[in-house]
Structure formats: C-alpha cells, structure tokens
C-alpha cells in the first residue's frame, strides 16, 4: 500500500469517526441561534457564525453523519444492483446481455440530476433514506458496465470451463468462480458510487429539494447561498463545508487509485 492510499484511508477514517461522534462533540446546537451574528472565525466559534448566529463548526460536525450515511447506503445498494445486472449480463451473453446492457446504457445516458430533482421535489416527504434509494437507482449503471466487460473476459477462462465441465450450476460458477475474481472491480465501483452519491446528495440539498430539517454539508451551503453569504463577504459560511466535500471526495478517489494500481500493475508509479 503506497502513501496515497494510506492518506485516503486516513481521511476517510477521520470523517467516519466524525460521523459517529460529531453530534456529541459539537460545541453548540447547530440550529440554535445566538447573538453573535455573522461573526468571522474566532476562539468561541471556530468556523464563525451564520446570519442568525448559528455555529458553523457544529453544523459541519453534525452534518457529517447525514453525508456518510447516504454515501454508505447508496454505495451498498447501487453496488448490489450493478453486480446483479453487470455480472448476469456479462456471464449469460446473448439476448439477456443485449437487453441488460441496453438498460444500463439508458440509465447512464439519461441526465440523472434533473430527473432526481423532479422526483425529489414531487415526493411529499423527502427524507434521507428515500433520497438514498432514489440516488441508488441512478448510480448503479456505470459499475454494471465495467463489471459486464470484466465478466465477459473471465467467462471463457480455463478455470471457469473446468467448473462448467465438472457440472457445477451456473449460479455456483458465478458466485464461487467469477465473483472472487471481480473483487477489485467491485471495490472500485463501490468507492466510485459513494463519491457519486455524496456529490448528488449535497447538490440536492444545495438546490433545496431535500428536506432542510436534517443537517448535512449541502444544507449549510443552501443557507449560505440563500442568505447572500457571498455578497456579505462571509467566506467562512461556505468555505468549510465545501472543503470537507472536496477532502472526502479526494480521499475516496485516492483509495480508488490504490485499488486500480493493485488490479493493474502497469499503472503503478515508476521511477524514470
């Protein structure tokens, strides 16, 4: 494991920890108003305060959990879907493959963001779990495509043929012969999906279609934007949440590089 991967895992571990303990260590109630209106970062308010005197540091801490939960739930759901569709279509081939890969491509090409915005704003109560499910439905297609290609290259290998010749059932071959060889691809697909889901959730919160009653980093940015934080010069209102998103995204991408380099040694760094 190289330095980049370790760094990625370290940052991810940090945010996971904050997601668990964030609401206990937050110095203030994130929604509580105070008399310190729009004050820049200081000793008592590390990230400054909002227009109504809410502590932004506490909002970021408490908001971490919503982000991580949606990322994890979507990652798991969408990865399961992509394995189901991708491996089945790659392994079976023929008409089933044609139909399933067409389905995946349709989901890929249709612009997800406007579609989810419509769905989320039509739902009467857009709570976190429901949103996670909707995001998962749009997030599985890329993974399915990659898995299909990889499965197709495995399908005719000798060890699979051997299993087939010894009379193993199709499902047994898929689960015990093919899937273990796809682990690196599945893992990197999972991490990629988490990035996608986190970005999408934050975006949806930012444009204001997800319920604003629970804190996440996107909600902070929504309030900053709708209160003209930019015009007021209140940079501390939108910088911390954005940096957290970028850090988390970078950490996940670094982990993905690690997985890619593990699976494809040609990508590893060489000394020229």
């Amino acid at each position: 494991m190289n330095f980049k991967t370790k760094l990625g895992l370290g940052i991810l571990a940090f945010f996971t920890l904050i997601a668990v303990i964030g609401s206990w260590i937050a110095p203030y109630d994130p929604s509580a108003m105070s008399d310190d209106l729009l004050s820049p970062p200081s000793g008592s308010h590390w990230f400054g305060t909002t227009m109504t005197g809410q502590d932004i540091f506490s909002q970021v801490l408490v908001g971490t959990r919503g982000v991580m939960v949606v990322g994890l739930v979507c990652g798991v759901l969408a990865t399961l879907l992509s394995i189901l569709v991708g491996v089945t279509s790659g392994f079976l081939g023929g008409a089933a493959d044609e139909a399933l890969s067409m389905l995946a491509n349709v989901f890929l090409v249709i612009p997800a963001l406007p579609l989810i915005i419509i769905v989320a704003s039509m739902l009467p109560s857009a709570d976190t779990v429901l949103i996670a499910a909707v995001i998962s439905l749009t997030a599985w297609a890329w993974g399915a495509r990659v898995l299909r290609a990889q499965t197709m290259s495995l399908r005719r290998r000798d060890f699979v043929e051997a299993a087939r010749a010894s009379g193993e059932s199709t499902w047994r071959i898929i689960v015990f012969e093919v899937l273990p060889n796809l682990m690196a691809v599945i893992a990197s697909g999972f991490v990629g999906t988490v990035i996608f889901a986190v970005m999408l959730q934050i975006t949806l919160s930012f444009v204001g279609v997800i319920s604003l009653s629970t804190w996440n980093w996107g909600t902070i940015l929504f309030w900053a934007q709708s209160n003209q934080a930019l015009g007021l010069g209140a940079w501390w209102w939108f910088v911390p949440a954005g940096l957290c998103i970028a850090l988390l995204g970078t950490a996940l991408a670094l982990i993905n590089f690690g997985i890619d380099e593990y699976a494809n040694p040609r990508l590893r760094k060489v000394r020229a």
């Binding site: 491509n105 349709v106 890929l108 090409v109 997800a112 934050i202 204001g208 970028a246 970078t250 590089f257």
Partner: protein, 326 residues
C-alpha cells in the same frame, strides 16, 4: 452499417424511456402538486392551457392510462409542454427555446474544451509516465472532487467580490439588447468567463486521468514497440500510434458521461444566474413548476442524445473496425 443501426435503436429506446418516465412520474408519485397549482391560478388559465396541463399530468381520472399515454404523445409531438407557472403565462416551450442557446453555448463549448484539453494532457502524462507529470494526478483529483457549484461560489467570491474583475451573474450586461453587435458579444463573452472556467476546471481532471491510464496501457503494446523499432519520431508514435488507440475508450466514455457532466454544468448556471436551462430549472424548483422542470429534463436528454450521436460519428472516423463491420 450495423454499428450505426444499433446506435440508432439505442437512441430511440433512450428517448422513449425518458419520455415515458416523464409521463409516469407525476402519475405514480403521491400528492397532486399540479392540481394544487391550477386551483391557485384559478380563472387565469384559459381552457386550452387547462386542457394541456390535464393531458400532461394525468389529472383526468375518467380516461384509461393508455388513452392518457396516447394523448400525452400527441401533445408532445405538437411541441406542447404546458404552461410555465413561474413565467406565467408563457408556454414552457417558449421559455426553453429562449434558454437553450445559452446552455448550448456555455456548456457545449466548455465541455468540448475540457475534453480536448484533458485528453491532450492525459496523452502527455501517460507518455511521460514517471516524470513530474505524475504529480499532476493527485492535484487534479482534488479539483475534480470539488462540487461544480462550490467552485463557482469561490470563483464569484474571489473574482467578483474581492477583486471585481468579472461580473458575478447574468449572461450579458443589464440594459443591453440581444443583437449582433460588438458590444453585446463582448459582454456575453465577459459574462461567460467565470462560469466557463469553473466548468473546465472541475471536469478536466476526469479526462486527464482516464486518458493517462489508457496511454500507459497502450504504450506497452507490441505495435508501439514495432513503431519504435521502425525509428519513427516520438511525436508520430505518441499521437498516430498510441493516442489514436487510447482515445477510443475516452470517446465512448465521453458520450456516456455527458448526462452527468451536463448535470454539474447546470448547477454552475444556477450559481451564476446564467440565463440557460440550469437557471430556469432552479427557478422552477422554487415555484414547484412541474411543467417547466419536466420540459427542462426532456430538452437536456434530447441534447445529450444529439451529442452522443456526434461522439459516435467521431468514433466511426477514428476506428476503421466499426466501418468495416457492415
């Protein structure tokens, strides 16, 4: 031409899926937001507008779902997308045709710039593997992990508020009339700089990385070794042998991820109040303007499909194997 035929079928299926999703969503999801809106607008809707909204959102319970579907297609084919609530009483189709050119101009141009720039940098980074270019990768990763809209906010904060170099919002200076004059075009370009750079910076990293990895893989192939053995120039091997093969997955990736990229770019328009589809969509969200939101979705899907077709043609030109097939 089996390649083109297959693609044509794919586009038709995708378009059908998008339109059908648009038809089904308001009928499947609970609540009746459009009915509420119609009640609110009350007598200000004339009977034609009312009828088209009933068709688009399935408010007429007496009709079978199949009859509703047929009526829906009939409406769409006549270009009738209903009335916008936000820009009442302008039809959605008119709102969209006004904002589409702005989006095509901004998002279209910047996406192509990002793709070309990223691919060129990726070719170079993959060719010079092990050099300082490798350090570019973690840096661009960080840039691509920043949400488009946040980068836009930072850009406004730095270059419009702190140092007022560029305008923070709009597509052209207020007071100007859209026309073919130097002043107007200059103003449009000036307003496009910040949102354009934002989109390029946040989308270029993906292309660099994808292209670099493909170059690294392709450089190890035998035909590159043969080209070297023949004593061809480095430049020729790099572009005509390695890059030409390595770019193929990048182009199909480009086509498939367009829907995602355009989504991000729409947000940049929202942040900059740029008069394109993204900003219109944003205004629609606030007003729960479903005819407008659904119209935006359809138009964007259509635009992405057309762009896909163009990418296919590019693929066809670069890869002789697809041409020989038929």
């Amino acid at each position: 031409m089996t390649f083109l035929l297959r693609r044509a079928v794919f586009y038709l299926v995708t378009l059908w899926a998008a339109i059908t999703a648009n038809f089904l969503l308001p009928r499947l999801l609970p609540g009746d937001p459009v009915q509420a809106m119609i009640t609110k607008l009350g007598g200000r809707l004339n009977s034609d507008a009312m009828a088209s909204l009933y068709i688009l959102f399935g408010l007429d319970d007496n009709k079978s779902i199949w009859q509703q579907y047929v009526d829906y297609w009939g409406s769409l084919l006549q270009g009738d997308l209903g009335l916008s609530f936000t820009f009442f009483p302008t039809p959605v189709a008119d709102v969209l045709s006004q904002s589409l050119p702005w989006t095509l101009g901004l998002v279209g141009v910047t996406t192509v710039i990002a793709f070309v720039l990223g691919t060129l940098l990726g070719v170079y980074a993959g060719w010079k593997r092990g050099s300082w270019m490798d350090n570019l990768i973690p840096m661009t990763t960080f840039l691509s992990s920043i949400p488009y809209f946040w980068l836009g906010l930072i850009a406004i904060s730095l270059f419009s508020v702190t140092w007022p170099l560029f305008p923070a919002s709009g597509g052209y200076a207020p007071g100007l009339v859209p026309e073919f004059s130097g002043e107007f075009i200059g103003s449009v370009l000036e307003h496009a700089v910040l949102p354009g750079i934002t989109i390029v910076i946040s989308s270029v990293a993906g292309w660099i990385l994808g292209m670099r990895n493909m170059m690294v893989t392709v450089t190890a192939e035998d035909y590159v070794l043969v080209a070297r053995a023949k004593g061809l120039t480095q430049k020729r091997i790099m572009f005509a042998y390695a890059a030409r093969n390595a770019v193929l997955p990048s182009i199909s990736g480009f086509a498939l991820s367009l829907g995602f990229i355009v989504g991000g770019a729409l947000l940049v328009e929202m942040v900059f109040s740029y008069p394109g589809l993204g900003y219109v969509l944003f205004q629609g969200i606030g007003a729960k303007d479903y005819p407008l939101m659904q119209g935006v979705f359809l138009v964007i899907t259509l635009a992405v499909l057309v762009a896909n077709l163009l990418a296919d043609i590019g693929y066809l030109l670069l890869d002789p194997r697809t041409r020989r097939e038929g």
